[in-house]
Amino acid sequence: MSYVKGLKCRECGREYPKEPLYVCEYCFGPLEAVYDYERIKKKLTKELIESRPENLWRYKELLPLDGEQTCGLNSGFTPLIRARNLEKALGVKELYIKDDSVCHPTLSFKDRVVSVALSKAKEFGFNTVACASTGNLANSVAAQAAVAGLKRYIFIPANLELGKVVGALIYNPILVAVEGNYDQVNRLCSEIATIYKWAFVNINIRPYYAEGSKTYGYEIAEQLGWKAPKHIIVPCAGGSLITKIWKGLKEFKALGLIDRLQTKIYAAQATGCSPIVTAIKENAEIIKPVKPNTIAKSLAIGNPADGVYALATVKETGGWAEDVSDDEIVEAIKLLAVTEGIFTETAGGVTLGVAKKLIEQGRIPKDESIVVSITGNGLKTQEAVVEKIGKPIKIKPNIAHFEESVKI
């Protein structure tokens, strides 16, 4: 049933077989799955997709497996919410939240990529999986590998939020906390991957793993009634999600599943770690790495692997980029909570904060459709807000003390 022809270098075009490879041997460019779109076009219709269960595998012809999916069978197809209260607060006409803070099973968009990565790792016959992670990926690999009966090594920066550490440990992985930032964890994992032949989901399984992010874009288009929005704001860490959302929308257009594609895509980062945003604002060709310093730890990648492609996506679509301070992140988290009842993590605060800024700047017009990408859950990053929200009013269990203490 496979619609994947092989892998191909994004830079020099050299072709490779479907194996656990991730970089071109010659120019070190990233490898990408190549599909047989002619055959997919004959098979994949709106009706077929709509007839399938509500999870990310409804688009399986556009995902890089050879056989049937075996992991993440209930992941994806998260709500796309018309955010009427937030529209009023921001003074815009049509705004949606694509809410992966409730993705199954570990409450972030990483469940999408891990579903694909682990299904592929099993196809390859690996019995051990691993990842370098700022938390969300750790949670998803730990959970889904447990279900799949795979041995799992998870590497995280030692200073991670408690919610993300607990959210990994509960699935009983081998959790390694590295004294250093994510970029150091990632470099170490690249070194480990040259010695131990494990399925590192974001290293040697990366060409397959990354394709899972396309489903976030597919779902936005399907849930809008088979059309693409005018504006999408996407949080950037490594720069893969923004690149793949755009790829997914272009595929839908090429397959005739949407008629028009005039979407502008915007990159969102925290000011304390904004190498991609800086490059866009300065119209630079290369990404200058930085040392991250922000509460948005899930976006704290100073050396983004797909940075140049994130840059290209923003340029190609005519979008833009912006960054927000830690205070603005917290304010945006609170704004989303009190308007739409969604408690997002710091990355979501970055995305909404940036959306607000771009609307205020006039970069995003107030009368066009806007989608804000919410990719993770606030219960995992409580440290970021705990000192900046109210406190419970403690009272004795009687009416008098209640009326005395609580202003009604």
Binding site: Y22, V23, E25, C27, G29, R187, S190, R206, A237
Partner: protein
């Protein structure tokens, strides 16, 4: 002046499947030239036509990215550890 160099998987065919090798040089440029002497073909894979380190390769000296140091002029001393790593890896 021996420096330990970690070789990424795609280049290990050129180093007889060794994941790390020893090389000499007082800076990164010299180190790459020395690697080329012992493992012919390695330099053109690490560097582009102009002799600069390729865009999709990151080099680290004792765990620090050379882009935070002096790029390929970063100096080396006996016992240093150098890692050559494909830039395309990772993602939260």
């Amino acid at each position: 002046m021996a420096v330990k160099v970690m070789i990424p998987t795609p280049l290990q065919k050129l180093t007889k499947n060794q994941a790390d090798v020893e090389a000499n040089g007082s800076n990164i440029r010299e180190l790459i030239d020395d690697l080329e002497k012992n493992f012919p073909g390695l330099k053109e894979r690490i560097c582009d036509e102009t002799g600069k380190v390729r865009r999709f390769i990151n080099i680290y000296v004792n765990e620090e990215d050379v882009r935070f140091l002096k790029q390929d002029s970063t100096s080396l001393k006996d016992g240093d550890e150098v890692s050559i790593i494909p830039a395309i890896a990772g993602g939260r």
